[in-house]
Each structure stands twice: as C-alpha cells, then as structure tokens.
Subunit: 349 residues, 2 copies
C-alpha cells in the first residue's frame, strides 16, 4: 500500500478521474447521488470494495459527503484477520472511520439451516443495516460490479427467472437503502484503477473454487460466453439497462391497475373485477395477478400456473380454480377473479 | 426400421399418442393447426425430423391433411447419400411423397462468402420455399425442438439480444409460412417416442464437434446450466412463453403508434411528432423509434445509441443528432424526431 492513497480527484491521471466521475454520474442516474451524503461503505478488502472505498472517498471529499467504512470478519478462513487488518490500515491511510465486527458465520449457517455463503450474506447485511441506523447513514454502498452482474444474470437464467428479473440486481434499492455504484464497471477497469493509483488489495482464494453455483458461473459459463463474444460484458450491461427501463414501466402499470381494485373482503379475499381485467393485455394481466397474489402473503406464484390461469380466464372458465404456493387460490367467477388464502382446516371441515 | 411404422394414433401406446396430440395442440395454440392442411415436412433423417415426419403423418391422417416430405442432400459428408436413402425408405414405408434434391453447399458458401453452416441453411430454406410454392403447400414444418430453443436463447444472449428477442425463435412465422411444432418438446421425449415405435434415425456426427458457437453452446454451456438446474429446459420453455406474449403485445403497441405518424416526406425523411412521442413510456419510445428506423432500410439500430437518443429526447436536446448503421440519422427538432437516411455524397458536397 502506498503511504498516500489519492485524496483528491485532481491528483489522479485523467482516465482514472473520469472513471470516478462516471461512477458518481451512474449512481446519480439511478436516483442516488451519494457524493454529498453520509454513506456507509461495505469493505471486505477485495479489489472491488477497496476500489469502491477509494472512489467514494474521492467523490465525497469533493461534494461534502462523509464516509463510514464497515468490515465484517466472517471468521471462516485463516486469512480473515489479515483481511480485517488490511481494511483497518487502508481506512487509517484514507482517514476514514471504520466499524469492524466479527461474526460466527458457521454458527449462523447451522442455526438457519443454510449454506455458509448464504449465512455470510445474512450476517453482513444485518450488520450493515444495524450500523447504518446507529450512525445515521443515508445509504449503504456495496461493491458489486459488471462481472458480478453478468454472473447474477446467468444465475437467474439457470433458476428460471422471467423478464425483467432476468436483467439482474438493481443498482439502487431504496427499500434496503442499498446502492451499487460500480454495477456497470467491469472488474478489469476496477483492477486497472487500483494498479493505476498503486493500491494493493486482498484476494479471496475461495472465489476460485467451483463449490457454489455462482462460482461455477464465474469460472466456467461466463468465460465460455466471453470467448464467443469478447464484448459480452457490454451486452450484459445493455440487457440490464433494458430490464431496468421495462421494470420501472411495468411497476407503474401494475400499480395503476391495483389502485383501481375494491378493498379486500373481511376474510382477506380480493376481487379483481372483470371490468378492470378485461382491457388488460395478457402480459399485464399476468403481472397484475402475480402482484395481487404476492400481496396475499408468502409463497411465489409459479409462471406455469399463471399461464394456465390466463388461458382459463380468456376462455371465461367460470368456477375454475388454480392453487398457488402459500395455500393461495385464484377462482374465476362471473364478477371477475377472486384471490384468497384458503384456510386449510376450514377447507377440510 | 420396422416393416410397418405406426399409421394411426390408435396404434400407439397412450403416452406416445398423447405426445402426438400435444404437438398438434401446441401448433394450433400458435395459430397454425396443420393437421387438416397440405404440409411440407423438412426431413434430414435425424431423430427430430424423423419424429416430426411420423407425428405429422399420424395427425394429418386423422384430420384429412396431406404431407410432402423434402430432403436436401448437402453433399458435405460421406454419409449424406446414405441419409437421403434413409429418408427415401422412411417415406416409402409411410406412403409419403418425397422431393429430394442435392445442393453444392461448399460452392454456395464460397459464392456468398459465408460459413458452411450458414450456406446449408440458405440452400435448405430456399429449396423448401420453392417446393412449397410449386406444390401448393400451406406451411413448411421444421423440426426444431426444446433443446434447440434453449441453445438459440443462449446464442442470442451471447450475441447481445434484448427482450423479447432473447426468448428465442418463433414457433409459427406466418411471413415465412414456417412452423416448428416440436419447439417445446425436449429431445429426450423425441428419442423416447422413436424408440417407443421402434423407429431408427440417422446421426449427424458433426453435431458433436465444437466447431461452431452453436455446437459449443450445445456441448458445453447448456449441459453446465442443466447440471445446476435439472429442470432447465422447463425454464427455457417458460422464458419462451413469456417472450412470445410480450412480443405480441409490443408489436400491437408499436403498430398502433406507427399508424398515427404522418406520411414520409418526398426525400424519405420521417417525422415522429412530439405529441405522439411525448406520452410514450421509455420502453415503448425505444421500440417505436427502432421500428421506424428499421423501416428506413437495412442496418440494425444499436441499443446503446437508442438509449442515448432516449436520454437526449428526454432532455429536449434540440438540434442533437445520432447516427445509426445504414447511414441513418435521428435528429431532435422542436416538432419531434426526424429520422432519415443521409445521402453521403450530398452530406460531403
């Protein structure tokens, strides 16, 4: 690590300064111009989050924002305390306040009956959110970049996601006050930035093990696609942009339809009146019904069941019922579509 | 080959008869119930097209349709004349009229400056279409199945396709009078069908060579995804269904907007009036502009340029121009957006 990491944009070569400004402009275009805010930066010590910390430092310095860094030691790898020391040294050199904690991720995995990766994720985000509230930060910055996004799209493809979910994770999630400013920056540019400013980083060796679906996407599938199309990451970024545009428009359309619905009955049953549903094109019908089913409680409506329901609805198949996970039911009646959670005991009694 | 391939659905075990009826119902759901029609069935002798010929025979037999089989000998592999003999024997056993021709695909590739795969495709479809017109067939049946569709989706992903193109090839293309009745049938079921009726097929060994992007998708990427999710083909079929629904709806929306445009100017310039564009949500704006640019002539509008244009439009950046392939230009003016092909000579003169 150099004695003096860059503290002002003017200290950087023009190409690297442009990268920083581009990251800030991207965040602003997503509805979260973080530079003048109080931000919590999640930092593992890897290349992506080390670069994020530097870039956020440069941008907040310039715009009057304030940074708190957060590091969670997962205690799973022998190197993890060295990672924590690396982040502490980096923050000291950058004059950034650091909150560092340890978590017993193996115990959390056991308790929740989930894998280590999932347990680590749960522990990290719980820590970041608690810290955000305690320190009054406006937003949490995490370091997902374009290669992560391309992996995420492949994971979603594998798991059978539809459009626009297939486009991948959001850049700004206001519900979680979570921002991913590097989301359209390729890993290659991030490492070039760090080398350009003479900044080292820590390497998580477990990322190179094909032990999780995500790692196999990273190690096998993504390189196979990039061999066929060297500009594959650009294509992934374009797909993401299109998905975000479509998602925003769809959410608006669905909200507009849902706002026309009568209130739910005392037993929770919800009528989607025929006169509201009739003018909807099939894609919007499916999304409205899915949103209304989701609002009934836990349980994801399956696409095949929704397709079937749409066919039955189009055929005006009065009296037909389709069941959905979470004991939900859609029933076609003369007045429209009734959605409700079925009381199993009552149903059998 | 058995002496007597099945001639009537009633001769089949119930599971196999159901598969045939499902194929017919799928075609009907796509707007082309081919069973009572005069159909041209493309048959290479491989498993997929052999099964397609049998299934089409059973369904047309029952509904009063008529089949002409078509086989093009590409003359590229030593086995190709044996393939042609196999198809001739099969058609004789099924009592189906066969049109068989040879093409010098290597010469076509040289002439068009394209690869052998592309040249074979060009020669095949030209042959099928000529034959369809000569024999007065209503529709051409080709044997793409669900594994081909999943490969096609991956190819489109690699090449940077957007939504809904990413969902893959159509099942029925009325412009090319082309139908793919097996599009949602997995290869596994097709081979099980052939084994179930005791029907052999020919194997194209070149399908197993990783020499083309398509083959590498088939041999490397698709198996990698199917290892992660054994139901991956179901997910591919769901993605296709959603894409077809969305595509149909989008085409309608775009058509409705285009129908409101004033006629093109004598020099071919097209004005998209501000009052037509203003109420459009961003996704529809992009699709309308793309369709209007496509209508100007050859040259695919790039998504990134369209995104940029949409940003400029939203910013009311009067006077700004964006160039598109095919010497097309979009110019923002007070009255709206002017699209036209730029005369290069005039431009420089």
């Amino acid at each position: 690590m150099p004695a003096t990491p860059p503290r002002r944009l003017a200290d950087l070569p023009p190409g690297l300064a442009r990268l920083c400004l581009g990251v800030g402009a991207f965040a602003a275009s997503q509805g979260c111009d973080f530079a003048p805010l109080r931000v919590l930066v999640a930092c593992s010590g890897g290349a992506d989050s080390t670069a994020l910390l530097l870039v956020a430092r440069l941008l907040t310095e310039r715009a009057g924002g304030y940074i708190i860094a957060a590091h969670l030691d997962h205690g799973l790898r022998p190197e993890s305390s060295a990672d924590a020391r690396f982040v502490a040294d980096l923050c000291a050199a950058l004059d950034i306040e650091l909150a560092c904690e340890s978590a017993d991720v193996a115990a959390i995995a056991k308790e929740h009956g989930c894998g280590l990766e999932e347990a680590g994720r749960l522990a990290r985000y719980a820590f970041f959110e608690r810290l955000r509230q305690e320190r009054g930060a406006d937003v949490i910055l995490v370091a997902h970049q374009l290669n992560d996004l391309a992996e995420d799209q492949l994971l979603r493809l594998v798991r059978g996601a539809g459009w626009p979910a297939l486009g991948g994770m959001r850049a700004f999630d206001p519900d979680r006050t979570l921002l991913r400013p590097l989301l359209l920056t390729p890993r290659r540019e991030i490492e070039a930035f760090l080398r350009g400013v003479g900044q080292s980083w820590r390497t998580d060796e477990t990322n190179a093990l094909p032990c999780a679906t995500r790692n196999r996407m990273r190690l096998d599938v993504l390189p196979a696609l990039t061999r066929e199309n060297p500009a594959y990451l650009d294509a992934a970024a374009r797909l993401w942009r299109q998905a975000r545009l479509d998602a925003g428009h769809e959410e608006e359309q669905v909200r507009a339809v849902l706002s026309q619905l009568p209130p739910a009955a005392p037993d929770g049953a919800r009528l989607l009146p025929a006169e509201v549903l009739a003018p909807l094109p099939a894609p919007l019908f499916l999304r409205v019904v899915k949103a209304a089913l989701d609002a009934l409680g836990p349980g994801q409506a399956l696409a095949d069941s929704l397709f079937r329901l749409e066919e039955l609805w189009r055929g005006r198949a009065c009296g037909k019922r389709i069941r959905f996970p979470g004991d939900k039911e859609a029933r076609i009646v003369k007045q429209g579509l009734i959605l409700q959670v079925i009381d199993r005991k009552k149903d059998c009694g």
